[in-house]
Amino acid sequence: MQKMKLVMVGNGMAGVRTLEELLKIAPDLYDITVFGAEPHPNYNRILLSPVLAGEQTLDEIVLNPLAWYEQQGIRLHLGRKVVRIDRVKRLVHAEDGTAAAYDRLLLATGSSPFMLPVPGKDLDGVIAYRDIADTQAMIDAAARYKNAVVIGGGLLGLEAANGLMRRGMQVTVVHLMPWLMERQLDEVAGGMLRQSLQERGIRFELGAQTEALVGEARVRAVRFKDGREIPADLVVMAAGIRPNTLLAESTGLHCQRGIVVNDTLQTVTDPRIYAVGECAAHRGIAYGLVAPLFEQGKVCATHLAQFGIGRYSGSQTSTKLKVTGIDLFSAGDFMGGDGAEEIVLSDPYAGVYKKLVIKDDKLIGACLYGDTVDGSWYFKLLREGRKVGDIRDKLMFGESSLGDAGHQGHSKAAAMADSDEVCGCNGVTKVTICKAIKDKGLFTLDEVRKHTKASASCGSCTGLVEQLLMATAGGDYSAAPKTKAMCGCTEHGHQAVRDAIRDRHLLSIDEVYRALDWRTPNGCASCRPAVNYYLLSTWPKEARDDPQSRFINERSHANIQKDGTYSVIPRMWGGMTSSSELRRIADVVDKYKIPSVKVTGGQRLDLLGVKKEDLPAVWKDIGMPSGHAYAKALRTVKTCVGSEWCRFGTQDSTKMGQDLERALWRMYAPHKVKLAVSGCPRNCAEAGIKDVGVVGVDSGWEIHIAGNAGIKTEVAQFFVKVKTPDEVREYSGAFLQLYREEGWYLERTVHYLHRVGMEHVKKRVLDDAAGRKALWERLQFSLDDEPDPWFEFEKAQVDLRQFEPLRPVIPIVEAV
């Protein structure tokens, strides 16, 4: 079969990324031709600034060498500018007469610099800052001339100025506005930036209007409106870029601040023609940062591949400056204004300035100078539109002030040694991350996570990883559409899946996958357990559990260990045990030669190193209920000895804990759930770091919720004070049922509470008495008659075949 013809006009980062995505999913669909106006293969345009500054070389920034095009069978026309598109005959024509026919056309023409329309703009020595040729011209000029003027004090202009200064030129930046980078920084931060650049030797003319560039053949000086002249042997125009739409307009495609495309990146005029990158205007915005352009490329590729899935719904962006040694970050509406409140930290002496803008209890903008490690956290809060009332007092001090661990308190990646650990969860060092970024050509945080696992677990080192990404590849973090897909199998987020299961009364994983157009036939190890949980928690006694969609621990009802053996933790109600239980445990340890016995933090005993074959017999011989220590379920209720023994105890916390545990055990949840009950405010049972922490006081019980002693220590928040043990059970149970019904899979109570807000939980559990009782009843209904998987195998659907390996009889085979 004849392949379809795909022609791409433009050979830059967004376009080539689109081809890469396309070749990944449909390698043989198209015969591909690429036209590039520049004589170079695809290179990393973002890194031109480090090249100019002498920190990298041109060779190092090539992304796809010529050999790549050859390997992919792409016909590459370099140095040939396309000047005409014939949409009727479906032909593109280049300046030199080369023509190519297309079935699908991809426009990736990027953007052009805006040249100030002043007299003298065509003199020698007046250039823009856009491509390798411009960069080379600047490098050459720096070797021969002394005075440079950069017009434009934005991101690009300052990077150019810094580079030229590093190459020995005397640089003056001319900027029309009263402060630098006014679209990214407020006046204070802009002033600090100027100060810092001035100290490096750059001069500034702020509020200055350029009237003319003076000179005969080559530029000699810049003249301002007020008549002053400053010497200039080189003038770099960096006053902005415009989407390059000339070609598209001439062929009749609708353009408005870019080539107008829909959510599938098709031009609205001609469905055979797609546009991605800086030339495309999506919902009125032409993006200039890598992450959104790559996102566009991904979506565009799926449509070119005729999968017809995926939509691009826009990105929010943030900014960082690529000038070594200067850290600044801004995102959102950092200027504030009507109805907005500002929190400002200013320490000019230390070179640190941070401004957070809050409106309607949400972070809407951030501007950071000098310390940007929390930029990504602020950006996340901003994107998610999360209410910040509960963390407002700590907001300014960053994510680490909320409790942090794993990277030794480092906040500046540049100051870390190569061998320092950046990601404590996965043991990833700085050098490993940098190497992966370079060798594998990574651009986005997600890619770094996939390849190195850095920041892929707890995420507390995300800021550091982003700094490394920024320094190494020039990547930015203008991440992601607003709702994050559950996994690669679907475009739907957790909430959408939960809603669909409830609203459409879906009862099996297959039904969910069909109803929501899953991309894979049976999901993956990430979405299947989640969907299985959503079905069971939404339709208890109706949806049927699918053990094959559970992680091994919940299939074998024990915890898998690194050597493939298992651990067994029997339930000890409220941490109480007896001589006969201990005796049985001791006998089992001897009989099955179990190598280790450990006292757990949850006041139970852990038998480690049990062979899988022995599990059923071990359970039987111990004769105690399953501790569910292996499950996303209620684990323990930790208690202190309470008023029964303790001379300070005010309440019988042990009994309260045991009653709670008996009421809640076998309760599966989005994640593990741990409770504690202390008999007095001295809190020996550590109720302050539990999902539900109950503290006895003289007049009753205080209930705290959503504490966590994990990666980030989170202190539980006071929820309510009640009088009786019955109320403790009802209120705790209602909160947990709400979490079970609304939580996303693998979301601990603390993250659930952060997401929905304390107000919401209080409204549902405290203010609405009937609703609370209904929640508590639904939980009891779910738990009623649930089996103990260690004893009721059939009812719990425990597949006993897993405990017996097959032992085939192998006939004697002659030796080879």
Binding site: N522, C524, Q548, S549, G564, D799, L806
Partner: protein, 117 residues
């Protein structure tokens, strides 16, 4: 010499989207997997990453996610997918009359020594 096929179990002895372990006299166990459409594959029961027992993983499509660190291993080639790299030895499988057969020679001799752990 002639190939000797050994019957190890029936297809239905393996859970759909699941696995069974086959113990061997010498060497690590072999895992036999069954996909949703009843295809059967066999791999050494050892993840190329840290040696996790693949038979205990979650099977989806024609891959299995290792229970230890969630690497996804292709059932047909035994190789890690996505950004991870490494392969575990695969074993020939023949299904006949609903019975799963492995190659006796392979069961006795294939992948006996731990590949650099």
């Amino acid at each position: 010499m002639n190939e000797e096929w050994v019957a190890v179990c029936r297809v239905e002895d393996i859970p759909v989207l699941g696995a069974r372990r086959i113990a061997r006299e010498r060497g690590a166990a072999v895992a036999v997997f069954r996909t949703a459409d009843d295809r059967v594959f066999a791999l050494l029961d050892r993840c190329p990453h840290k040696g996790g027992p693949l038979s205990q993983g979650i099977v989806a499509g024609d891959g299995v996610a290792c229970p230890l660190h969630n690497w996804t291993i292709g059932l047909a080639d035994g190789c890690a997918r996505g950004a991870d790299s490494g392969c575990t030895p695969k074993f020939a499988v023949r299904v006949q009359g609903g019975r799963v057969h492995l190659d006796a020679q392979e069961l006795l001799q294939h992948a006996l020594d731990p590949v650099a752990a």
